[in-house]
């Protein structure tokens, strides 16, 4: 029997002697065999410590007999003090793992009793085997299943954002969490593919400002991160682990350093980081594609705005300040990112609806006649057809269409009321009215001061304007950025 075999049998026997099924077996047998005590011998006939063993293990002749001719059946014998004992071999497969002894029996048991104990013993062994299998599964499969579930959760967390800054920060935080490390950095290759640019560096012990050396770009091949990005091979060392972000080509690296419990990183953790990097790279690629798409969309809208502006300056588009104000109110209201993006598109083209309104009505000073007002309402809808073919502008159309609605239902084109008006339109209505009051639009009435305009907006809260949007607007005006937002009008 070699060393590992010996160790395996010993381990088996120790666990077996301490298992719950054996403890029940011992109790039953002590009743069947009348107050006998129980002990275990290993395959080399040495006593196994199992907590409740008998110290009377001077087995004398029995041991000599057993050693010279190992029996595979139960055996009755007399110990050194001439008392009756019974032994059963513990057999697994074809080998004997040890022996269970019942010591100092009151009298010699009948064969039927011994057979019952033997059957009982076999059942206990089978039960114990099942227990072992289950434990093995628990020890090997459960951690992997938990790791898999973790990766799945990470995938869900990463795929829920397309904002690159938010995404990179999230990847870094999740890496710290999963790796149990104090430091993590995410670097992406620049366009020249010669440098790694740190996008997020987190140290749990101190905040790292973007101006710190940790945020300096690294040349490919230099330092651990540079080497990993160059070779595309993950590196595991005692205190750090660094893996490449690979999607066809290498796009960057994730590295983690210094475990919170000061233990070394192991292969299992490297495996987890590689899997996390695989999830991260998909999310980063999606965010990059979304950014590019967004840039293209803004480009198209700006071109359209410039075209409209060339027909009649400042009629169909508003100032940059207006756009900033719309976005500031939306941020204050904590609108979802997607809604804010659509609001941004709408704010760039707020008055596309005026496109087919005749100039004499559009630029008429003072109030409009009911016929002129009807023309405006009709043409407003007609004009929106210009942009409805642009797929990415579709979610913005309801905002543009309804930003002349009033909260009390007295607006146009559909007379929508309260929350039936899209939230973006409610926000834009406030910013639009404010801008009209404080700027000198040729077709509007007299320009009024900023404080008067704010009071006017507040006065119409709940009637013309959504109270929530007005509150957010008032909050925005209290912020220091408000003056910058107003630019020349301030």
């Amino acid at each position: 029997m070699n060393e590992s075999e010996k160790r395996e049998k010993q381990e088996f026997l120790i666990k077996f002697s301490k298992s719950s099924s054996v403890s029940a077996f011992r109790k039953i047998c002590s009743k069947i065999l009348r107050k006998s005590r129980c002990a275990f011998l290993d395959a080399e006939y040495k006593p196994v410590k199992c907590g409740g063993e008998c110290d009377h293990l001077k087995l004398g002749k029995y041991l000599a007999k057993l050693k010279s001719n190992p029996l595979r059946e139960y055996m009755l014998f007399k110990c050194n003090c001439n008392k009756i004992c019974l032994s059963f071999p513990i057999i697994q497969g074809s080998s004997v793992y040890g022996h269970v002894l019942f010591i100092h029996l009151n009298k010699e048991p009948r064969k039927t009793v011994m057979d019952s104990v033997r059957i009982c013993m076999d059942l206990v062994l089978k039960e114990f085997q099942k227990e072992r299998e289950l434990n093995k599964l628990y020890e090997t499969i459960r951690p992997r299943a938990i790791a898999l579930s973790t990766i799945h959760t990470i995938h869900r967390l990463l795929s829920s954002t397309l904002n690159m800054d938010e995404l990179i920060e999230r990847i870094a935080r999740l890496t710290l969490q999963v790796m149990r490390s104090r430091y993590c950095s995410i670097m992406l290759l620049d366009e020249s593919k010669k440098y790694l640019i740190p996008k997020a560096v987190i140290n749990l012990d101190e905040e790292i400002p973007k101006t710190s050396p940790q945020y300096k770009k690294i040349r490919l091949g230099v330092k651990l991160e540079g080497r990993v990005a160059k070779t595309g091979k993950a590196v595991l060392s005692r205190n750090s682990v660094c893996v490449p972000l690979v999607e066809e080509d290498i796009i960057g690296v994730i590295s983690a350093r210094d475990k919170t419990n000061d233990a070394p990183f192991d292969k299992f953790e490297l495996e987890i980081l590689i899997t996390l990097a695989e999830q991260a790279v998909i999310a980063v690629k999606n965010a990059q594609m979304y950014e590019e798409q967004e840039k293209r969309a803004y480009g198209s809208i700006k071109t359209l705005a410039a075209l409209l502006d060339s027909k009649s300056p400042n009629t169909f588009t508003h100032s940059d300040q207006f756009v900033k104000m719309v976005l500031a109110i939306a941020e204050e209201m904590k609108l979802p990112r997607e809604d804010i993006a659509n609001l941004h598109y709408s704010a760039l083209l707020p008055d596309t609806g005026k496109f087919s309104i005749p100039d004499e009505i559009l630029k008429k000073p003072g109030s409009l006649s009911s016929t002129e007002y009807d023309i405006i309402k009709k043409q407003h809808l007609e004009s929106l057809k210009i942009i409805e073919h642009l797929e990415f502008l579709k979610p913005a159309i309801p905002i543009i269409r309804h930003h002349h609605e009033r909260y009390d239902g007295a607006g146009y084109p559909d007379g929508l009321k309260g929350r039936a008006i899209p939230v973006g339109a409610r926000v834009m209505a406030v910013a639009n009215a404010f801008e009209a009051m404080v700027s000198a639009r040729p077709y509007k009435g007299k320009k009024i001061s900023i404080s008067q305009a704010i009071k006017e907006i507040e006065k119409n809260k709940g009637t013309q304007f959504d109270p929530e949007a007005v509150d957010a607007f008032i909050e925005t005006t209290k912020k220091p950025e408000f003056k910058n937002m107003l630019g020349a009008s301030a």
């Binding site: 959760t153 969490q177 979802p336």
Partner: protein, 88 residues
């Protein structure tokens, strides 16, 4: 924060802490955690909220998912680890 001993008096909290002590790398939803420790999800959710407030569990939130992970605070982790060992 309650003392570790007091925290362990709540059965759901005890199960969550034992789970994270054994699997500190895990990040999972309340549903996932309740499955791993075979406990009612509503009770687990309540216990997780409490542990987040106490700074023992970190939550990662997005619009559609809230995931929970063990704190990276070395001192807290050590205290819990010590208590778990003393229970054995």
């Amino acid at each position: 924060m309650k003392t570790v001993k007091n925290l362990f008096k709540n059965e759901a909290v005890r199960k969550i802490l034992l789970f994270f002590n054994e699997n500190p790398n895990c990040i999972d939803t309340a549903k996932g955690i309740s499955l791993w420790i075979s406990w009612d999800i509503n009770i687990i959710q309540k216990a997780l909220n409490q542990l987040v407030e106490d700074g023992i569990i970190t939550s990662h939130q997005t619009a559609s998912t809230t995931a929970y992970a063990y704190t990276n605070n070395k001192e807290i982790v050590k205290k819990i680890e010590k208590h778990v060992k003393s229970m054995l």
